[in-house]
């Protein structure tokens, strides 16, 4: 574990020094994400000009949900997005050999190698928006529920990465991963909105087979309505199942990998 932690510190050092070489890109990315945050907040603020509630949540609750979504997105963009983007090219181009020869988990190395230092500032901004949304909430949330919500977002991020990987791994058997990536990106639109607005059958799909509602929406639900055994088991079972399946699927993929131009 200590070895992995030290390795990750090296990844951070390399990433920050690389980001500083392209300063304009650094600031463009910061501006891009600020626009992204503004657009999402504006979307819901305009909707709430015409309704007092959406999915049973008032504007203050929705702002916490949106802030949670933005924080989760920034966390993904900072820690794993670049790695997930390049992974299909590594597989198709036969560049995995370098990683497979290392004395560490290939999945860890490939998922965490590049830390997007230029998104790190955005992560700080998103964290600020989340703190602002929680701070302006007029009701009593309580330290325990806020802690559960933040823990839920971290677990949500892990689930998101696992889902992304499951849409990438089929590249071991395919020529291009672009189509699957596009489809996954399309599906993620379901997680941008609170899952209570969907019909029951779709809510069941989004909390089990394609657990996009567990990324932000269910943690926000726990924040406002509390943690029940049902919700706890839902998250725990899906996380364990998806984690195990991803490891199994990755190993199957590696068995199909035949190095150059796989």
């Amino acid at each position: 574990m200590v070895r992995y932690f030290r390795l990750y510190l090296c990844f951070l050092r390399f990433s920050f020094s690389r980001a500083m070489e392209f300063r304009f890109d650094f600031f463009f990315r910061v501006a891009m994400d600020i626009v992204f945050y503004a657009v999402h907040i504006a979307f819901f603020r305009i909707i709430y000009l015409h309704t007092g509630a959406l999915g049973g949540w008032n504007l203050d609750q929705m702002m916490i949900f949106v802030a949670g979504f933005l924080f989760m997105d920034a966390l993904y963009m900072t820690v794993t997005a670049n790695n997930c983007w390049i992974l299909p090219f590594h597989i198709n181009g036969g560049h995995l050999d370098y990683y497979l020869a290392r004395p560490v988990s290939s999945l860890f190395f490939l998922t965490f190698r590049e830390f997007a230092a230029n998104s790190f500032l955005n992560l700080m901004i998103a964290a600020g928006i989340l703190a602002w949304a929680l701070g302006r909430y007029p009701g009593e949330l309580g330290g325990v529920r806020v802690s559960l919500f933040l823990a839920g977002l971290i677990i949500g991020n892990i689930l998101h990465v696992l889902l992304v990987l499951n849409f990438i791994i089929p590249v071991f058997w395919m020529q291009s991963g672009e189509g699957l990536r596009e489809i996954f990106f399309t599906f993620t639109h379901f997680s941008d909105r609170p899952h209570q607005i969907y019909p029951n059958w779709l809510q069941r799909v989004l909390t089990s087979i394609l657990p996009l509602a567990l990324i932000v929406s269910l943690p926000a639900h726990i924040l406002f309505s509390g943690l029940t055994w049902g919700r706890f088991l839902n998250i725990a079972v899906v996380l364990a199942a998806l984690w195990s399946f991803t490891i199994w699927f990755w190993r199957r993929g590696l068995r199909a990998y035949s190095s150059a131009s796989s």
Binding site: F22, F28, M32, T51, G179, Q196, Y198, L202
Partner: protein
């Protein structure tokens, strides 16, 4: 550029786009279905929880029709993002722009011909998905599809398509100075999505913003053609809108020319 070459580049782009038909259709249909589903459920919840029957001048069925139109017409307007002409900045960065500069043709028109070629698959999708959606969601009564309206909408979409192309051109030309312009392009996409009526109809925005929004270029990419087909834009408003859109095309055309010329002066042909 000769019309024959223009047509050749146009058809070449169509063939490239349709080379992987399964990928193209699955990706497009999945995107349409997910987007329209999410928007449908969001607005169903808004109408139900607010208890209102009309919001921003639309009833629920009207707002669904608006999104169907925006999603489909948006593909006609945004053609560039999905095709090979989106790599202008890559060509500058890699230095492969050089081969185009020695061609006996205009690079801008060459790229625009390819950009227009991308409209063909989008038109096929518009016909198939639009027809199915209209029947399944019973939207026929909401659309105002007279021949005159259709002609006005075609003109609005073509001009919107040109405006989108001209807005993206100077952004790609930034590659003469910077190695990565992707974030600028995405920033524009976010801005256009919210201020162009892609995420929300502009009539649901606060009343004080309506006059400003109608003067900005973004509306003419999504909201304007969709409202036109729904009979929410009068002939006089259409004419006024086309004039505003033409002015923005001219503004971005001049900007594109200036940025491109300045970029070409310092272009070394070996990539950054």
């Amino acid at each position: 550029m000769t019309p024959r070459l223009f047509l050749f580049v146009f058809t070449m782009e169509v063939r490239k786009m349709m080379a992987y038909r399964a990928n193209f259709w699955i990706g497009s249909l999945a995107s349409f279905l997910v987007n329209i589903s999410v928007l449908y459920f969001v607005w169903e919840a808004v109408f139900r929880e607010s208890g209102k029957h009309i919001i921003g001048g639309y009833d629920f069925q009207g707002i669904v029709a608006y999104y169907v139109l925006v999603l489909l017409l948006g593909r006609l307007v945004r053609g560039m993002e999905y095709g090979s002409v989106a790599n202008i900045s890559d060509e500058i960065y890699q230095g492969t722009l050089s081969r185009y500069l020695v061609y006996p043709t205009n690079y801008f028109l060459f790229k625009y011909a390819g950009h227009l070629g991308l409209l063909v698959p989008a038109v096929i999708q518009l016909a198939v998905v639009g027809g199915l959606s209209t029947t399944l969601l019973d939207l026929g009564g909401i659309l105002s599809l007279t021949p005159a309206r259709a002609a006005m909408a075609v003109a609005a979409v073509l001009l919107g398509n040109l405006l989108n192309f001209l807005m993206l051109w100077p952004i790609h030309a930034v590659a003469f100075w910077q190695d990565n312009v992707w974030s600028l392009e995405v920033m524009l996409r976010f801005t256009v999505s919210i201020l162009g009526g892609f995420m929300l109809p502009l009539s649901v925005f606060p009343a004080w913003s309506h006059a400003t929004l109608s003067l900005l270029p973004f509306r003419y990419l999504f909201g304007f053609p969709a409202d036109l087909l729904m009979g929410r834009v009068s002939n006089a408003e259409w004419a006024q809108g086309m004039v505003v859109c033409c002015i923005w095309c001219a503004v971005f055309g001049v900007l594109s020319r200036v940025v491109w010329r300045r970029g070409c002066i310092q272009y070394t042909g070996v990539g950054i």
